[in-house]
Amino acid sequence: MSIIAKLLWVLLGLFIILNWGLLMGALIRKIVARVGKRVGIRWYQPWLSLPMLYSTRSSISHGVMYYLGPVFRLSGGVGIFLFMPLIVGSPYFDNFSFAGDVVVILYFQFFGMLGMALGAGEGGHPYSTIGISRGLAQFTTVEVPLTLAVISLAIQYDTLSIKEIAAAQQGGITNWTLFTNPLATAAALLSMLGIFRHAPFNLVQAPNEIPIGPPTEYHGTYLGVLRTNGAILHVIEAVLFMNLFFGGAGNWIELIIKTFFIYFFTVFIGVVFPRFRIEQSVVWFLKVPLVLGILAILFMAI
């Protein structure tokens, strides 16, 4: 396949992922609203909010880094997308997946956060800075159990390629990592709660704690870029967990169903549990998920 054709397939994949991300966000909000006996937003609301944000006539800049913050965040999301194989065995939707892509993806998760930290820091708003320090502190501890789970998988499958890990799980539900390596799955699913940042761990962006954290000063097009990234990131992170632990997807329907339930898992926990303070959540990630991650490595290594 020529590189032009490859790029077109990647863009098609990105388009589908973006729209599914927007729709999924709306569906989840609708479900949460129905739990609270509300009607909730219209399912097409995200497609209305994006042009509204992108078409704001005036905007304010605090300097180059402030401008680059959302750009870094978006390149973090798109970067994860570029290296993520979407459909197992499909030559069209495996993007630019290569032998060590899981390491690159673990790095890219932090890339957007750091870009936002620099950008929001230049805004000069104290709330942004508080939000950043909270967000980075929490995300650092979130990454620890996830990385331990990935190391456990690397030992189990003897590879660092997501494509090969997903391919090794084909041929029946019992081949999924969920059943072959339950400890690593448990550690990763617990750290996933911190990645998606729903209720127990959503202090970083909780509107009524400090006004919405790092994006406090971002508005209009900046916020539009952040929201676009949010839609891509939610799906693509769910795709990561689907590929690593739930057998990957053989077609788009399977991908949509699996990512929905993976994302819904965090929302469900978020609806049920109240919010942690930041020092509680940091300690929480360094207790059970960390121990599970270490045990997962030990079991696979022995």
């Binding site: 509300r38 704001t56 005036s58 304010i60």
Partner: protein, 226 residues
Amino acid sequence: MESQNNNNNNQEKFRDPNLDKRTVISPDGQQIEVDPLQDYFEQARPQVHKPASKVIEKFLNWARAESLWVLGFGTGCGSIEIPPLTTPRFDAYRFGVAMRPTPRQSSVFIISGYLSVKTLKRAIRSYEQMQNPKYVIGLGSCTINGGMYWDSYNTINRLDYYMPVDNYVAGCMPRPEAILAAFESLKKRIKEGRADGANKYAEHFDWYKANQKKVIKDWNMPDYNW
């Protein structure tokens, strides 16, 4: 700089010592001049932003109208009527209305009741931090003619002397249903392209500023700030 010509005679009387020019010494011994009015505020006049071409603007206005982001800023007794909008009984989300915590991200400013002069100062600062296009809803009789506070020494009587208002909701207090109706009528106005308050504010900036300074005695900030 225009912002330095604060033509308010009371400025000296209400001077805020925190906003004086001063010299501070940095940890490595460097002397730094700090002028809070210059350094902490941006001081550019608001600009008139021309709408896009007709067809595009029609689509954008539709998107803006169906996605109203309301600034969570409560003034007066009407602010108690806003929270029920997010509850199962009234549920404004189904009409595309959402609450935002910061002015920069909001497009609708609800002045929910009487405005004391002290609050007016904050309301103006919040309004100016909102980005073009922005819309204002005046809630209750107090924003129309002062209502039961019409002869009060400390509240303003007509809101549209101080910022351009798109919609008024009469009543004391209007019920949440009336606020939902106001959103619907604001949507209609936006879709027709008539809700251009931000540009109106920029065009008649001097008139609005003069009105604001007439009532706000302790004007210790630049004329325009975000």
